[in-house]
């Protein structure tokens, strides 16, 4: 799991028209982009190329490093192994065969098209999500979700979790470090402790982290009470979208819809 957003944090404070765009608009356009890709039939290379060009144009315009985005987008790549099975799943012109004991797997051109399509869709979708995160403060994103009718409780939970994520990750890392400095292995000797013992150690670390988190949540609750919290989560009401922002949203979604429509039809 990638646990550092540092690579993207570098970009989030830059100023570009994309950064300045309202988080609600950006979020909806990202969802629209991913949805358009999902609707795209396999093997529509021209449409896929247009989608990629569109996205990369926006990335370049937003002054976010295109290379960083493309590289980071490989996080989803391991899952592509699942897609490898698509190679062998389609009837059609055989490409090659693999003999696995009693089984013979035959890859086909149609299978190859399906495989490449799925991997490309996945890769571009991740890039779209990365672009959103690289140009939007996460807290703006959370508030955008609130404006888009996500229940207040979930918004509050997301905000809390985001605030304490890094605090608790540091606690977890301190524990791992404390374990590492005591995990000495003598030369020529196998490291001791069976899997059961190792799991027990990690389980206790998890348990300790749980108790610390629990106690922290109690202190936070007291701190909230001290400042007038009564159980209701209040926030300042956000302004509504301007006509310009609504226009950008409408044009963007229409563009994505027409690319998909043309790809499905022709």
């Amino acid at each position: 799991m990638t646990l550092s957003t540092d690579a993207l944090d570098r970009f989030v404070d830059r100023s570009s028209p994309i950064h300045a765009l309202d988080a609600r608009v950006k979020f909806l356009l990202t969802i629209g982009f991913v949805l358009a890709l999902a609707f795209m039939p396999f093997g529509e290379w021209a449409a896929m190329a247009i989608m990629a060009a569109l996205l990369w144009g926006i990335v370049a315009w937003s002054q976010v490093g295109l290379l960083t985005i493309i590289k980071r987008a490989f996080v989803a790549l391991p899952f592509a192994l699942v897609a490898v099975s698509l190679l062998f799943s389609r009837p059609g012109e055989p490409l090659f065969s693999l003999a696995l004991g009693p089984l013979t797997l035959t890859a086909t051109t149609a299978g190859l098209v399906a495989f490449i399509s799925v991997v490309l869709k996945s890769w571009l979708s991740v890039q779209a999500a990365l672009t959103l995160v690289a140009t939007t403060h996460f807290i703006d994103l959370i508030q955008a979700l609130r404006a888009l009718r996500l229940p207040a409780v979930l918004v509050a939970l997301l905000a809390f979790a985001y605030r304490y994520l890094f605090v608790l990750i540091e606690e977890a890392q301190r524990m791992l470090r404390a374990r590492a400095v005591r995990s000495a292995v003598l030369p020529g000797q196998r490291s001791g402790g069976g899997i059961g013992w190792r799991a027990a150690v990690v389980g206790q670390m998890v348990g300790t982290l749980f108790l610390r988190s629990y106690e922290r949540s109690e202190r936070i609750y007291v701190a909230m009470l001290s400042r007038g919290y009564t159980g209701e989560f209040r926030t300042i009401v956000r302004r509504s979208l301007t006509a310009g922002e609504e226009g950008i949203l409408a044009i963007g979604l229409a563009l994505l819809a027409s690319i998909t429509f043309l790809a499905v039809m022709f």
Partner: protein, 333 residues
């Protein structure tokens, strides 16, 4: 780098965008929204304002706890998904909300799992794991909780089953999206049979630690574990034994599974006679595409085998626990 890569494959439950068809994505979004809505209602009714900071911090806790791992074999490591643990510690509804927030953060902040696929991911790893963890865990603990090995065994089995449930659901969604069942099911279930062992071990050790240290904050759990469980922490020895039994069970299941599918050369057959996958893509609005209807053959039989197998295991465990409980109650009278 390579071991991180292996780990990604091994965990393999955060579905990225691009893999699920639109109808499948939307169907699971609907299920997830419904489940989360119920969870919001349940938690806001019973547990009031104290819960918000608690659940928020707990989501961060699960996220951080997923980083704590231990070396198992050949560069792979055991670590936690956390749904069953969260449900057992906090209750099923709070568990669902906590896991929902964890998965949403992972998708939004770290691109771990797609946006469109988030509904499916939350359902598999949040809703299902919490419901399996709590729904199986509490009845089992009521029966076995009082015995010295009760907490260890139940914690392990329930956490393992929660991972398997998530893996089965993930496979079903992939298959409905056109990935061949004959490959996905064996691969997913095989890998997660072992992943589940790590989940089980950490969950039982963490439960045992919390319950012996602060029984007051997990009162409903402490009540079913009984006084002896509260005093004795589960040691490495017991966990080792559970590991061996679990491993034997997992390997056995993995060996038996090809025969259970009743279609040993499934891969070849899928490659040859499944023209239906093309058609499924042509009708993106069918939630259940054509190919599930004509015959119980190939892909579907594997799904059914998997689901039925899992249901049988759950039913057996539940039935036995009910039986033993009835006997125990009869003995008391």
């Amino acid at each position: 780098m390579m071991s991180a890569f292996l780990e990604q494959i091994a965990v393999g439950l955060h579905i990225p965008d691009g893999f699920l068809s639109v109808p499948v994505s939307i169907a699971w979004w609907v299920l997830t929204i419904a489940s989360v809505a119920i969870a919001v209602r349940r938690t806001s009714g019973a547990l009031h304002e104290r819960q918000i900071p608690l659940m928020g911090v707990m989501a961060a806790f699960i996220f951080a706890a997923q980083m704590l791992n231990f070396p198992v074999l050949g560069g792979t490591s055991g670590h936690l998904l956390g749904g069953a643990l969260a449900a057992l510690l906090l209750g099923p509804w709070a568990g669902i909300l906590v896991m929902t927030v964890v998965l949403a953060l992972q998708a939004l902040l770290f691109q771990d799992g797609g946006l469109l696929a988030m509904g499916a991911n939350i359902f598999n790893m949040g809703v299902a794991t919490a419901l399996v963890g709590y729904g199986m865990g509490m009845p089992l603990l009521r029966v076995f909780g009082g015995r010295p090995w009760g907490l260890a065994l139940v914690g392990f089995v329930v956490a393992w089953a929660s991972v398997m449930a998530a893996a089965v659901l993930t496979s079903i969604q992939l298959v409905l999206s056109g990935v061949p069942a004959a490959i996905v099911f064996p691969l997913m279930l095989f890998v997660h049979t072992f992943i589940g062992i790590g989940e089980g071990l950490i969950t039982l050790a963490a439960l045992s630690f919390v319950i012996t240290t602060r029984p007051d904050i997990v009162s409903s759990l402490a009540a079913v574990v009984g006084p002896e469980g509260l005093q004795r922490r589960v040691g490495g020895g017991t966990i080792g034994t559970v590991t061996l039994v679990g491993m034997a069970f997992a390997i056995g299941a993995a060996l038996i599974s090809p025969f259970a599918s009743g279609d040993p050369d499934g891969l070849e057959r899928v490659a040859e006679d499944q023209g239906f996958l093309e058609r499924a893509q042509d009708a993106p609005f069918n939630i259940l595409p054509d190919y599930t209807i004509p015959g119980i053959d190939g892909g579907l039989s594997t799904i059914l085998a998997g689901v039925i197998g899992l249901l049988i295991v759950f039913a057996l465990i539940y039935g036995i626990s009910q039986m033993l409980r009835a006997r125990a109650e009869a003995a008391e009278r």
